[in-house]
Symmetry: C2
Subunit: 447 residues, 2 copies
């Protein structure tokens, strides 16, 4: 015999939603009716899916909270057969400061749920509905980046892919690469793998370019704006100086872990790219490639000489499809949908506010690192310190600090490759709040 | 003055969950308390996110259901200020029979929600947790496809990408292509774009290969197992005959819209590929490339002669990373996670059951098409009819049938390119139920 009715009440305790449930009729001590689990699950799903909640506490009203369990471990039966009202309250999520894949932008879970409701994953990539999403994502990006009209926006699968496409489409023989870490070097290696004569200008880890090197004439100059492995930024003046040095060369800028923060001077850049799992706070699996008309012309010229510039992701093919707001292949439709939604959210927040917050958060953390007696910024020259990927030289305190921060729910990114034992990385993206950075700085300072 | 308490009751009407809510105390006609919306939203989110629900009806208990609104259009305020108990009941989702992106496998929404709870989108693609997901997806696929140990499994971004990678990695000069429609021809064109001497054996739309053509010696023979544009299958015997004709050539099979249904004879195939938004019922943005040791050796040999076989997605790079259960680039982590989950679900259901159901559903629909007085199967030769993409020659009834089926919640796929006006396509994937196919056949027969 099941109870006829199940009652719910909703309260808030210390700003956390709290739901209590009780049988209101039915035999004393009887089991909850089967539907109860269904509704309770729905409420939990919602709470757990929201940005700030990863665990639910389950307990009983007379003793307040008794047990803390992560959602997946909750045995429904154990609680449903308990005759007393049931209390739930929520615990905070862990926050990832890894530089990518990083913390999801806080609106993403809601957008994902909405995507399921709208049937986005079953949508045809040749439909008018998809074209609207493609156009929306492009327009939002154009506004957010303040991108001039002579640039086109294309969707690829990763920034790694775009390294390959840039070399294939924009060079016949030569490229020059400025590297301040592992990712700049991989762009150079990509050119070598495609049999180009590539020249590398490399700095030691932690160092960067305070003045533009004197590079030979070349078809393409590749610059990593923000080196994710080391937290070294390449100042805008370096890009400008190289443009002036070689006005005929294509200037390619890897903005993977800096956008949407920087305002680039697009008169000094011909092609720019990023992937969405960093500053845009989205699931990985989408790269954005931005090119101006000089790139389009260069690719046409290379094709006219008989060079293969690739197949479905040649600039010709990408442009031809982008004009119809389509992609050559079946793309990551869900990724493009989420990009449209998150860029709209960022526009509502305002790029100026995002920039100010980024700078505030960077200042707070760099200050804490500078003041610490044993920990310090890995990048010594202040002008070369990235605002968006902050690397701390933690020396023999690496494990201790990692554990301490993790226990407080703040997950640092590990150091990259050879820097793993001696550094920790902290992404400073729009998904990370000022409060989180203040807490991070406090914990580092008092440790 | 807000009411102190909000009550909920859950019922089922005709097997659909129905939630009623009421203020139990508080001023008559007063507004609902703010938290009410929070909980109600959570229940709606859950119901709407589940596989069978896309709309919620909102109404009032004394008049039963009064309004039908899609979730996004519901004005909370409008209903929250209404003093009477509120009723919600749910409506069924539309089912997509488009051949891809197609209907999501019914477990995908739950897996997506679980992914958010587990923080999958923020997971590092260099972590042990990711390696476990990669390994799980590979092992599940191996079991589902009954794939021998001499084959390796790699993750790319689309089948379109894999056309390019196959030509880049497995040919220096020559390829031969058997085409029964638009996608077979695009594979051939991919080879031309990469400057290979490609030879095309092409059939008219709706026709296919009943015996193997006599092809010249070549490095690679490309065969579309299931042509998504026309619904023509290439029988396994054709693949086998070509293998016997040219045992030295690499045999590449495009199984994009047929897997997981077919059991291939892997002694006759060297490389096989598919994308996940078709038979696997997943969101688009992931391609799976399967190769044997002959492919690995061929790529090594081409590299040793100085040929570029690409960069991050060369077979060397893919293999080197796959040995560690990793990808060269930051991949579509969520896509690989969902693939692992859905392949596990399919293994639990059993590939034999999936095959039998596929054959039953195909028989039901082809029978209805054959019996119809004005509609017929587009593919005339029964042995060439795809079990997984069923194309109906609807002639001047195309629009009428499309409208009729859509109104019943069954969305056909439009005909491809030049066949758009005269055909409709029906994907027969594991996400589509026997009941849906029976209903489809009934509606076609009685129309």
């Amino acid at each position: 015999m099941n109870p006829v009715k199940t009652g719910f009440e909703l309260h808030r305790i210390r700003n956390l939603p709290l739901l209590s449930c009780s049988e209101e009729r039915g035999p004393a001590g009887g089991g909850m009716r089967p539907d109860f689990g269904h509704v309770l699950h729905s409420v939990w799903s919602y709470l757990l899916g929201s940005a700030n909640v990863s665990q639910i506490r389950v307990g009983f009203s007379e003793t307040n909270v008794e047990k803390t369990l992560s959602f997946v471990n909750i045995a429904f039966d154990e609680f449903f057969n308990y005759p007393q009202p049931l209390l739930l309250c929520t615990m905070k999520h862990l926050v990832s400061f890894a530089p990518g894949p990083s913390q999801l932008y806080f609106t993403v879970p809601d957008h994902l749920r909405q995507a399921l409701r709208e049937g986005i994953p079953s949508m045809s990539h040749r439909s008018a509905a998809f074209e609207k999403i493609f156009a929306g994502a492009s327009e939002n990006l154009r506004e957010l980046l303040n991108l001039p009209d002579n640039f086109s926006i294309f969707f690829c699968s990763s920034a790694t892919e775009i390294w390959e496409r840039i070399i294939q489409n924009l060079t016949a023989e030569h490229s020059v690469h400025l590297s301040t870490g592992a990712f700049g070097k991989r762009f150079y290696e990509t050119a070598l793998q495609l049999k180009r004569h590539a020249v590398l200008y490399e700095k030691a880890y932690g160092d960067g370019f305070t003045q533009a090197p004197d590079v030979p004439p070349t078809e393409l100059i590749a610059i990593t704006h923000n080196e994710t492995s080391t937290g070294v930024t390449t100042p805008h003046e370096i890009i400008k100086a190289l443009r002036l040095q070689h006005p005929q060369s294509i200037i390619a800028v890897d903005a993977v872990s800096s956008l949407p923060y920087p305002q680039f001077d697009f008169t000094t850049i011909d092609t720019l790219f990023f992937s969405v799992q960093k500053g845009f706070g989205l699931p990985a699996g989408l790269g954005v490639w931005i090119v101006n008309e000089r790139c389009i012309e260069k690719e046409e010229q290379l094709r006219s000489t008989g060079q293969s510039t690739g197949t479905y992701h040649s600039l010709t093919s990408l442009l031809q499809h982008a004009r119809k707001h389509q992609t050559p292949e079946t793309p990551n439709v869900l990724g493009i949908y989420l990009l449209e939604k998150v860029t709209a959210d960022m526009l509502r927040r305002g790029i100026t506010a995002i920039r100010k917050e980024t700078e505030y958060k960077a200042a707070v953390l760099y200050h804490a690192l500078e003041q610490h007696q044993s920990i310090r910024p890995f990048v010594k020259t202040p002008a070369l310190r990235s605002p968006t990927v902050i690397v701390a030289e933690t020396s023999n305190l690496t494990d201790k600090l990692y554990t301490k921060l993790s226990e407080k729910g703040l997950l640092p990114g590990e150091g990259y490759g050879p820097l793993k034992a001696s550094t920790l990385r902290f992404a400073n993206f729009p998904a990370h709040s000022k409060e989180q950075f203040e807490k991070l700085a406090d914990l580092i300072s008092n440790g």
